[in-house]
Subunit: 237 residues, 2 copies
């Protein structure tokens, strides 16, 4: 029985739209396309089969079990299997996530990062698994377009990214408001902590700490909402 294995080297794009994203954006990592026997042999089917063939990706049409074991959803008709991959360090604008624990958040953050044109998302371990099929789905396919990479520590990230950029850690232990950043110099790195614990005080000395101004009724925003607000402030024109 095929199951997603966190420590393995394969993951899965569940659904037709996601599988098209995989084939169009990361076909060099695609290893196999599963099509359910229940999938109608319609135009979408032909388009998918032709696309997969043109990229030399094998198509499996007689494995009904994999749909139950991987998706559970009755309406998943197509699964794209791919080899896990990581991107490279680049010189553009970055999001750094320190120990994110929720894979739903991780997927949505990839989606927002793509929406606002961030160049790289770098993740400090321990962290949620970006390749979990739920995260791949939550990213709406942006996992196949945006550059990302895991690091063992923030220092390891820093070593590769270099100091020649502006750093903005988002944390509650400061009074600097995001609203006061009027001019943005590139490249920059926006840093966010774990959903429950945030960033520790050591980040107060990393560049310019910032807070998203809000009333005090709740402790803080959901992580992906905080990241989206920061992306909007720094990148929307």
């Amino acid at each position: 029985m095929e199951k997603y294995d966190k420590s393995g080297d394969k993951s899965y794009a569940l659904g037709t739209t996601l599988t098209f994203e995989l084939l169009n954006r990361k076909s060099d990592k695609a290893t196999r396309i599963y099509i359910s026997p229940k999938q109608k042999r319609d135009e979408t089917y032909l388009k998918l089969v032709n696309l997969a063939k043109s990229k030399n990706i094998p198509i499996i049409e007689n494995n009904e079990k994999i749909f139950k074991s991987l998706s559970g959803k009755d309406n998943t008709m197509v699964i794209g299997e791919f080899k896990k991959f990581q991107g490279e360090m680049n010189k553009g604008n970055h999001i750094v996530l320190v120990n994110p624990s929720n894979m739903g958040n991780l997927g949505t953050i990839l989606r927002s990062s793509a929406a606002f044109g961030i160049d790289g998302v770098y993740i400090i371990k321990p962290a949620a698994d970006i390749f979990d099929p739920k995260c791949v789905r939550g990213s709406m396919g942006s996992i196949f377009s945006i550059e990302f990479k895991y690091f063992s520590s923030f220092n390891e990230y820093l070593f590769e990214a270099g100091n020649d950029r502006d750093f903005y850690p988002f944390m509650l232990q400061t009074n600097n408001s995001l609203k006061d950043i009027k001019e943005v110099k590139t490249p920059f790195t926006l840093i966010f902590g774990n959903e429950a614990t945030g960033l520790d005080d050591s980040f107060l000395k990393v560049g310019t700490p910032l807070k998203i101004p809000q009333s005090s009724v709740v402790d803080s925003l959901n992580l992906d909402n905080a990241v989206s607000i920061a992306l909007y402030h720094f990148l929307a024109k």
Copy 2:
């Protein structure tokens, strides 16, 4: 076996923190507090029991089954049962959600709305169930502090809210950018459509339609992320 019933009149705050929120903010709606036999008889326990007693809310300590049937999570030790409620129309700043279908989004939107001090969240049916325990949990308790109400149509909302306010429908069918709103007049209403379909063209004539500027790699932001960005733009100081 106690189960959450969408059409019933009861719902549940799952967990100790949420139950404290219920007792502190909406004790008139609390009907019963369940404490697991596994809960340690510690300081938190005493605080909870005393708070419930001071509000005359019955405490049930011998119903282990309800924890399995309602929560499923092994670490839930406290459940607050409450009677479903709705708020009133008010004259402040509003969020209107037209046909939101995802209860996770709904919870997070309540949380962000509380964070930025929105006065009311009004929901146009058909819509996700705000009282689903998953939504109550996702709101981090802000469901007990923020005013909200369901309406059968946008016109019904309009009839109660009145026209003496600025309306901003968020939709992709416009070129007006949120970034161009430099001065905010209150009260205002920010309107958002369904996760998959957005707002239909009829909303182009409701006040000033706005778009969150973004690159075109993905279709649009996740609903709760879009709402948070709008709240930040309109309300953060």
